[in-house]
Symmetry: C2
Subunit: 246 residues, 2 copies
Amino acid sequence: MASEPTYQRVAAELRAAIASGDLDERLPSLAVLAQRYGVTSDIARSAVDVLRAEGLVTTRRGSGVYVRRFERITRRSPERLGRQYRASGRAVQDSDTGPRLRVVDIVVSEQPASSEVAEALGVEAGQSVLTRSRRFLVDNRPVQLATSFLPLDIAGGTRIAYTDAGPGGTYARLAELGHEPVRFTERLTARAPNPDEVERLDLGSSIGSLVLDIVRFASTEVGRCVEVNQMTLDATAYILEYDFMA
Amino acid sequence: MASEPTYQRVAAELRAAIASGDLDERLPSLAVLAQRYGVTSDIARSAVDVLRAEGLVTTRRGSGVYVRRFERITRRSPERLGRQYRASGRAVQDSDTGPRLRVVDIVVSEQPASSEVAEALGVEAGQSVLTRSRRFLVDNRPVQLATSFLPLDIAGGTRIAYTDAGPGGTYARLAELGHEPVRFTERLTARAPNPDEVERLDLGSSIGSLVLDIVRFASTEVGRCVEVNQMTLDATAYILEYDFMA
DNA sequence: GAGTGGTCTAGACCACTCC
DNA sequence: GAGTGGTCTAGACCACTCT
């Protein structure tokens, strides 16, 4: 054993092959890699694990290891939440990705609020709030899960309670209702994905992958929090950009 | 094999034992864990890998597996960059952690700028810039590496070029020099750590751990970028909070 | 020197995909 | 059914820490 573990050496060679374009689309099978590099298939898998953690490849059980040609999505705040985007009929997320985006699995329901959400929205703990959950695909790759929570006394019975919230999205409707969000706080943590997130974000395995957990609180001019949005992002799919003044 | 892999089951039990306080300080050795759960030591290690990715434990080769009792650091922007912090003689990072913070390995030098830094600072590519690098420990745990780049025509020969930049830190000195930073852009990505970062941040292994890479551009009232700060954070050590208006 | 985490082998079985 | 990724065993060796 040199100072560097074998699986790191194999990973480095595969990384170079991907960067140079020698490997595109798909990698040789683990068995072939193992033979080629003179290692066990377990070690070949460890090498692939490294690349997967870097977002360079994605693995599909029973199928193969595939190269991920994917440019990270740049997600700009606060520009993306400005009025100009909504005015043109675009929702928040369009600003980052344009036509490559697809929103699927939209589910709207009323659910009891968690204590964190209840406190933020100013309702009794356990009381129902409007819940909008959905999944974002970019170039058919799932990159984000999101669930919004809104107080029923504002959003109940409005267009917001429909799966299609209309042009400009939820925030445009809130503005029309006299509750335009103008101030935002985003709280960001990196953590290991749970099994459900591994599946819905196509992360392959919980080992070696992390997600970014963002909770955004949206408040109106008068300081009322009118939406809590919990987002789970594939950590390798994004660049987050924040602009602010001292 | 049930639907859930064995190493996940073992990880779940260890996680519960840590949460309940049954395991504190230190875990039994891998050999003991292997025997107790009736698995190979390799599998016991996989379980520990899961916990390490979650930031629950840290491993020390030749020594043991240790429980990480650590509350995440909340890093608030833009408050932390405001004048009030500097006025009281505190530097930026103090706002998040107070007396638990230690800054070590401060190295100040002049280095040729990378193309990204050169472009931002408005100097010729390859020209020298002032470079301040340092490492942050909180409760003796390394949590962040940072390197600042400043143009020599502003910072050269000033207090900023000393390892101790004085009360209020670099930004206070820039303000005194008539180049107070007032506008900031932070660009954040999650990525796998390189071997140097694994060592300096005590991440144990590059497998299963991610870092947050933040590049901050600090600009003055007249729109000149006077500092680029590249930070590498242990992803499991932080909560990042951003406040902004639409 | 004893004990520990980290890496690796050779071989096995499983779940899954693709033809 | 053949091939693929994912998990697991039993045993080995190494680098390191702690005494």
